[in-house]
Amino acid sequence: MKRYYLLFELKMLIHNRKNWLLGLALVLFFPLYHGQYSQQPIESLKDKKNEEADQYNSIFKAFPEEMRETEEGKKIYDNLTEQASLVNMQRFYLWDDTQDDDYIEDGLRLNELRLELHAAGNKGVHPSFVVSEEAIEKELALLNYYRAKDVPVVSDPFVASQYVPAALDLISGIPFSLFVLLIGSTMLLHDRLNRSVMSGLPIPYMQRVGAKVGLHLITITVFLSAAILIGWVSTGLKAGWGSAVSPVLLYSGGTYTAVSAVRYVLLQSVSFLLIGLLLLVLLLLLQELTANTYAAVLAIVSLLLLPSLLYAAGVPPVGWLSPLAMADTGAVLSGEAAIRFGSGSMDYVHAFFWFIGLTLFLLAVLYTLNRLRYVRRTSVQRIVN
């Protein structure tokens, strides 16, 4: 019976024009957004290194003269001198593709020196010129990845392998959540509009829930996969394919690592599916409780916007909001969420556990509510009798 019910729900899903329209919008987003993305001023590695080199002039100018007389000050000054030299050498190496190894070696040494300065308390360095430990970690992660995977250091930021992860980051959070909520908004529609046809079907409630949520999740997966595939192909044909192993920074376990673009896209997709599952179950629960789809969608969107609204209002981040903030999976993977909430545990592994845990909790609530309907009914009958 469950199979026939699934087939029927699938048929209803296929007949739903709204879902096709939303799917089409998602699929078209990737090729269309590339036009705008490619116009953005993205800082190249050469620009970045030139800027760094310029900063050293200011650093030396601002270095206190009296410190240079001390042993400690001399050491720091030498450190900064070596850093400036290494940055300038890196600028030179960037002109020649064959000198990527030298660039990496110098980069590793440069960040080692920066860390030494941090250990010494960055004495004599004006705070505005101190390279943060976070930035050092990011650069080290990238340099180690370049060396391990033998990937070119300089890459075009507009090729498919660079663009697709960036586009996925852009739609994560509220845009993707809205997409899920709009697709899921009609989950219970025919159970209500076609009540006398549907209500007597001999199938348990949780099986209905499973069929509806499962099929809608599959729909979202299909649209998302199609969007990524079409986005990758269209960008590849237009601006170049890039390399599937080109690095993307990933925040995990309180530190940064570089992973391949393909792995990042896979992780982002898994995040989308888990958040999609959570939102579908939450939407179903709220629709059951409020009997109003608009109210349910509005409540969830408000809930998801809450961390950003409070942050914008200057309210310090509170712990219980962090699971809500994790809905922006792009911010979680990039580490932005962890910085904003000052919590090293806001990485993708914790986010996955939260999504799965909350989904199971909501399913348990749905199950309990359904059980309570019968318990209440039996007790009412007992009291009256």
Partner: protein
């Protein structure tokens, strides 16, 4: 097979069902007659557990009573309710609807072509439901019940929007269902039609069954004549009207023939022929007459 015990339900200011107790067995067609708003649909909804009664119990096959979801699913595997026309899926074809019901209850849609042929739906059943007329939709709803083929069927307003030929067709199908041993509840405003296939008809009033008309057992025979109220008053004044006579809805005089000798029966026929302008009939009281008796 189905036992309702002390079912009561009331909405603010109105009692819909009041301690209703009722038993039904397989192979029966039970008509439910009552004006709109007197609890027919509520009764069906309670039997199917779509509405929770304030008190009382629905017992199915002597053991299942909607105590938990498992029991509800077990009962719903044995019971279907008549879909409302407005609830059909506009974008799906009649075949889709039939396949849904056939497969959900029987795990197969093998019987669907035979049902389509039986109900003469072949010319439209593959089109989308939104193109159907009222009668076509009604036939589809009935066909869905046939496709589900459950031992118990609750059919609310089954003849709505059907022409004479289709009423006859559905009536034949109902008679066949009875032969197959199904328990069918039929609520219909075509009261005369109920007499053709129902085993008994229950009349609901003020939340209770005020009368249960047995159509398969031997019934009292009446001499029935249309009579205006003033003529009836005159007859009453003569004091000759037999005990047990009925004057229904201020227009129909029914005289029980049981206990009258032939001579008396002839006399009454002659008397009534003189004063009654309409036709005169002899026979048991039908559903229409009982309906008028209780609701006029």
């Amino acid at each position: 097979m189905l036992k309702l015990t002390d079912i009561s339900i009331a909405y603010p200011g109105k009692v819909i069902l009041d301690s209703l107790t009722f038993t039904a067995e397989e192979g029966e067609i039970i008509g439910v007659a009552a004006p709109n708003g007197t609890g027919k649909t509520t009764l069906f909804n309670i039997i199917a557990n779509y509405t929770k009664p304030d008190s009382g119990q629905v017992l199915f096959n002597g053991k299942y009573a909607y105590r938990n979801e498992k029991e509800e699913v077990l009962i719903h595997r044995q019971l279907t309710t008549f879909p409302e026309q407005k609830d059909l899926f506009d974008e799906l074809s009649g075949v889709d609807h039939l396949k849904l019901y056939a497969s959900m209850w029987n795990g197969s849609s093998k019987r669907v072509p035979a049902i389509i042929a039986r109900l003469q739906m072949g010319h439209y059943v593959k089109k989308k439901a939104k193109t159907y007329s009222l009668g076509m939709r009604q036939r589809l709803c009935f066909a869905m019940m046939m496709a589900a083929d459950t031992p118990v069927m609750l059919m609310d307003e089954v003849m709505n929007g059907l022409d004479v030929a289709n009423v006859a067709l559905i009536s034949e199908c109902l008679a066949d269902m009875k032969q197959e041993g199904k328990l069918v509840f039929v609520a219909s405003h075509l009261l005369e039609n109920l007499d053709l296939y129902a085993d008994r008809v229950i009349f609901l009033k003020d939340g209770r069954i005020v009368h249960e008309q047995q159509l398969t057992q031997e019934r009292d025979v009446y001499l029935k004549a249309e009579l205006p109220p003033e003529q009836y008053s005159r007859l009453q004044k003569t004091g000759t009207l037999p005990a047990g006579h009925l004057y229904i809805a201020r227009h129909l005089l029914c005289l029980p023939l049981e206990g009258m000798v032939i001579h008396e029966q002839t006399q009454w026929m002659e008397r009534l022929l003189k004063i009654s302008s309409e036709k005169m009939t002899v026979g048991p009281l039908g559903t229409v007459e009982y309906y008028e008796k209780y609701y006029s």
